[in-house]
């Protein structure tokens, strides 16, 4: 008795030649097996059956449209993004440095105040 998977392997052409031959021989004498094989073949043939044909001039029309379409150059986009990120990182570093410079006198004053014995009391 063949399993459905074995029959599908046969229909898909994935079965070893010897096994496929044995299955064919058995199917000649076994109507049920024959019917199961036919059912698999029918399913296969119907998966893509009924697909419409491309209309005449489909490729030429798309080529015309493509002439006006903006092309996304991924490499160029990647380079641009890299430049933007580097610029953002530099700006952030400069900004942080400026903030630190501006805050430095405050920090020093605060340290002095903390060190003052009056403050401790």
């Amino acid at each position: 008795m063949y399993s459905d998977d074995q029959i599908w392997r046969y229909v898909d052409g994935l079965m070893e030649a010897g096994d496929a031959q044995r299955l064919e021989q058995q199917a000649e004498a076994d109507e049920e097996l024959q019917a199961r094989i036919e059912q698999c073949r029918l399913i296969r043939s119907e998966v893509l059956a009924g697909a419409p044909e491309p209309p005449p001039g489909f490729a030429a029309e798309l080529a015309r449209r493509a002439a006006a379409a903006p092309v996304l150059d991924l490499e160029e986009a990647r380079r641009f993004l890299k430049r933007v990120l580097v610029a953002a990182a530099v700006l952030a570093a400069v900004g942080l440095a400026l903030l630190a410079m501006e805050a430095l006198p405050e920090i020093l004053r605060a340290e002095e105040a903390i060190a003052d014995p009056l403050f401790r009391r």
Binding site: D4, D5, W8, D12, G13, Q39, C40, L42, I43, R44, E46, V47, L48, A49, G50, A51, P52, E53, P54, P55, F58, A59, A60, L62, A63, R64, R65, A66, A67, A69, P70, V71, L72, D73, L74, E75
Partner: protein
């Protein structure tokens, strides 16, 4: 037609990267039928296929730089197509589904006056059962039947593991079989 040999796919892709629309036209011509078939396999609605196919190929042109060349071009193209079909389905969920009877009749030459009513009915049932499958099952089935893609290639297109492809294919087929048997009985 020129006297020289046809440009290779690699050459065409390199030219598309530079914005060559003639190379793009040749790529579309090479793959249009397969993309239409794949989209139909996932969407199961012939009316929607052309619009989504246009979207797929325009994405290919405008985002060709996203194709790194490590995988085969068709693997990348089919991924773009399956993702576009999924996005399209999401948009359509707000709208009522197209009834199967409204779909175009199959242009496969198999269903005609010579075909028995019983065979036509079985085919109709198979198509209805496929249309009822969850989308991720239909995607695997369509990719499998598209060019007889190997399981590993399907896994690459869908960015899932080999085991997931195998189990989806197994479940999809088991579901189809169950549905068909329940209809027949």
């Amino acid at each position: 037609m020129g006297m020289g040999s046809e440009p290779s796919e690699g050459d065409l892709i390199a030219r598309v990267r530079k914005g060559d629309t003639e190379a793009f036209r040749q790529i579309v011509e090479k793959y249009e039928r397969r993309v239409f078939a794949l989209l139909y396999g996932v969407l199961r609605d012939a009316h929607e296929v052309e619009d989504v196919a246009q979207e797929v190929f325009m994405k290919v042109f405008t985002r060709i730089s996203a194709f790194d060349g490590k995988s085969k071009f068709y693997t990348w193209l089919y991924r773009v197509a399956v993702n576009a079909a999924k996005d399209h389905r999401k948009k359509l969920r707000r709208r009522p589904a197209v009834a199967l009877e409204e779909s175009e009749p199959p242009p496969d030459g198999l269903s005609g006056p010579r075909e028995s009513a019983q065979t036509a009915e079985i085919r109709r049932l198979v198509r209805a059962a496929i249309a009822e499958l969850p989308e991720h099952y239909r995607s695997v089935l369509a990719l499998r039947e598209l060019q007889g893609l190997h399981y590993q290639e399907i896994a690459d297109v869908l960015r899932v593991s080999l085991g997931t492809v195998e189990s989806r294919l197994h479940r999809a087929r088991a579901l189809l079989k169950r549905r068909l048997q329940s209809h027949v009985q």
